[in-house]
């Protein structure tokens, strides 16, 4: 990969070592240009209009859905634009016709966004069963085998932990779900941006991820469904085929889940983000990030008083690395990394308070997360700064 050229596409990187990609990534110039182009040259609503502007925006909007679907191998499913992963998960939680006594199986690894919507279902008599991970975040698929019962309607789990960086064997878990007639929802917010994905190969039913973590605009997320079998969260303009005084017919395809004027510029931008990632190649991105992550982890391992959480081996992980320094609050570490060296990291609980509690990490962790535009020099800068902090302590 030509990192120098890639970096030129992200002007923000000129002065900063941006390593908070698990929270949100940056957008390349092509994405920003595409959004500006929409605003300047053909801003119009999408749907049934016939004028020249709406024709262009509708086609670009539709193309963006197709590009995203192809990107995850999901052409045979329904690809819906949401605001983010959170909205996608909530759409499924609100769209299934639950019955009292139904069970949802999830894990303690989950981000609040793939946890609270299921907890909330308790009000409707839905039981939430949680699987505890091993200290490095891994979960033996057998654990699912023993907890999924006949009442289990849905299993909701993360593809890759946004705290520990470990990747779960979703394909294996999908086949366990199928054996028990349970649906599988995968929170892929941390996986889709960083590795090749094929939802059909995984065998899941719902697949949720965020556009803004994969070089796309903020305010974009995706709910992919194998079968469009949930009720739409919202009803209104654009979501229907026909309406009369007392009845309505829902539109086919993604439209039925996208009532109201959507984030058109955002979705078009997301399509361009997918183009960008495909040009680089997801397998190459994954390999490159593993190289960076290996360097980061082995560097941190050598520094005294640094504790790393999550797997140390590269085979089942992404470039999300959580660590702490003895005797110093993670917020302070993150602050110094920024102030002293322009290294941007995240600190705190990473929207995973139940996991933090389970791991006994009261203040959370410092989290560095890499992407295709980071460099080995930036990793070294982070390591040097961490070392510098230990010397000051």
């Amino acid at each position: 990969m030509d990192i120098k050229n890639i970096r030129n596409d992200f002007p923000l990187l000129k002065d900063l070592a941006y390593m908070d990609n698990a929270a949100t990534s940056l957008s390349p110039e092509t994405v920003i240009y595409a959004m500006n182009e929409f605003e300047r040259h053909y801003r119009s609503n999408v749907g049934r209009g016939v004028h020249r502007l709406t024709t262009v925006s509708t086609q670009r909007y539709w193309d963006a859905h197709r590009k995203v679907a192809e990107f995850i191998g999901g052409e045979n499913g329904t690809t819906v634009l949401t605001r983010n992963t959170t909205e996608a998960v909530n759409m499924v939680a609100c769209g299934i016709k639950w019955q009292s006594g139904d069970r949802v199986v999830s894990t303690l690894l989950e981000h609040h966004s793939n946890f609270l919507p299921w907890m909330k279902l308790g009000e409707r008599g839905v039981d939430l069963a949680l699987i505890e991970p091993n200290p490095d975040g891994s979960i033996d698929p057998g654990a699912f085998e023993s907890i999924i019962d006949d009442n289990t309607r849905l299993v909701a789990l993360t593809h890759a932990s946004n705290v520990l960086g470990n990747v779960l064997s979703v394909k294996e878990i999908a086949s366990i779900c199928q054996e028990h007639g349970a649906k599988l929802l995968v929170d892929a917010a941390q996986s889709v941006p960083h590795m090749p994905i094929d939802v059909e190969d995984i065998g899941c039913d719902y697949f949720c991820f965020s556009g803004h973590k994969m070089l796309g605009p903020t305010g974009t997320g995706i709910l992919w469904m194998k079968d469009a079998d949930i009720d739409p969260l919202l009803l209104g303009g654009g979501a229907i085929e026909s309406v009369s005084r007392d009845k309505y017919t829902l539109a086919k395809g993604y439209q039925r889940y996208e009532a109201g004027t959507p984030n058109i510029a955002g979705m078009i931008g997301l399509g361009y983000a997918v183009d960008y990632l495909e040009r680089q190649g997801m397998a190459r991105i994954e390999n490159y990030e593993k190289k960076l992550t290996r360097r980061l982890i082995s560097g941190l391992e050598e520094i005294e008083d640094v504790h790393i959480y999550g797997p140390l081996e590269m085979d089942q992980r992404i470039g999300v690395v959580s660590f702490n320094m003895e005797g110093i609050h993670p917020h302070e570490v993150s602050h110094i990394l920024d102030e002293a060296s322009g290294v941007i990291t995240r600190s705190g609980e990473h929207c995973c308070q139940p996991l933090m509690e389970y791991m006994g990490l009261q203040n959370g962790t410092v989290r560095a997360s890499v992407y295709l535009y980071n460099t080995e020099e930036e990793i070294d800068l982070l390591l040097d700064t961490v070392e510098e902090i230990t010397r000051r302590l």
């Binding site: 709406t54 024709t55 670009r60 193309d63």
Partner: protein
């Protein structure tokens, strides 16, 4: 491509209720960047290739890379180009026309063929025989065939109710497959019209061959722009009207005979 439809078959004094295979025809409305470009009457196959070939031979696009996407919905094809706003803001009606060709012929504006391709008479006969063998034509009697051939033989053979559509379709196919058209020749079942010649020139296909006739205008344009026209390829016979230097086993004297002009630059009346 066809449907069995009821028909009354008459023979002499007798009328019989029967069915007959009838070739399918569909209207396809093509819009480019939200503006209507044409409505073509076409066969319902390889529509993507047809649209690409049409846009190319009409010079709406210069390169297949200019197409951002083509969206098909029922009887419409919506084309989006990578820079849709050039056409959007144009005051001129760039696109109009119904049922096919829309470019008027201005020889000066047509490109010269740039190709070193030659073929021999045997290959011409064999490829024409192979390309134009259409079971659909035998069955329905209502189809045109256009084949695209190269040094290694058949590249694509397509059928359509219209030969212009069929030619656009093979050109679209070749563009998508990244085939160098200067190394190919086109074979068609019908008359080689000026419109067929124009499409070959734009696509830089150096030779067009038919089992049928051609026209005076087609030959004029072909001569002016270096295209080879071969007609009436039947059995051991064929008529070469222009660009004879591309027929490998023909003498240069014969090729020169076709190019001979009078002193004022006009065609020699024979």
């Amino acid at each position: 491509m066809f449907r069995e439809l009821p028909c009354i078959k008459a023979e002499g004094e007798s009328f019989t209720q029967d069915v007959h295979p009838v070739i399918e025809e569909m209207p396809l409305a093509v819009s480019v960047n939200g503006r209507h470009a044409l409505t073509a009457m076409t066969s319902p196959v390889m529509l993507r290739e047809f649209v690409i070939g049409f846009l190319y031979t009409e010079r709406i696009i210069k390169d297949i890379e200019e197409i951002e996407s083509i969206r098909f919905e029922e009887n419409t094809a919506s084309v989006l180009t990578t820079n849709p706003f050039k056409i959007l803001t144009s005051q001129k009606t760039v696109l109009s026309g119904c049922g096919g060709s829309m470019s008027f012929l201005d020889v000066e504006k047509l490109p010269e063929i740039d190709s070193d391709l030659t073929i021999d008479a045997v290959s011409i006969r064999e490829s024409v025989k192979e390309a134009l063998h259409s079971e659909l034509h035998v069955k329905t009697g209502g189809i045109h065939v256009v084949g695209l051939y190269g040094k290694d033989g058949r590249i694509a053979v397509v059928e359509d109710i219209g030969r212009h559509n069929a030619l656009d379709r093979v050109i679209g196919y070749a563009l998508e497959q990244n085939i160098d058209l200067s190394e190919t020749y086109a074979i068609c079942s019908g008359r080689i019209s000026s419109e067929m010649v124009r499409k070959c020139l734009v696509a830089n296909i150096p030779i067009i061959i038919s089992r049928g006739a051609t026209t005076t205008l087609a030959i004029d344009i072909a001569k002016a722009r270096g295209l080879t026209i071969i007609g009436f390829v039947r059995g051991k016979k064929m008529n070469i009207y222009s660009g004879g230097q591309r027929v490998a086993d023909m003498s240069s004297g014969d090729a020169g005979y076709l190019e001979a002009k009078t002193e004022d630059g006009k065609e020699k009346e024979i």
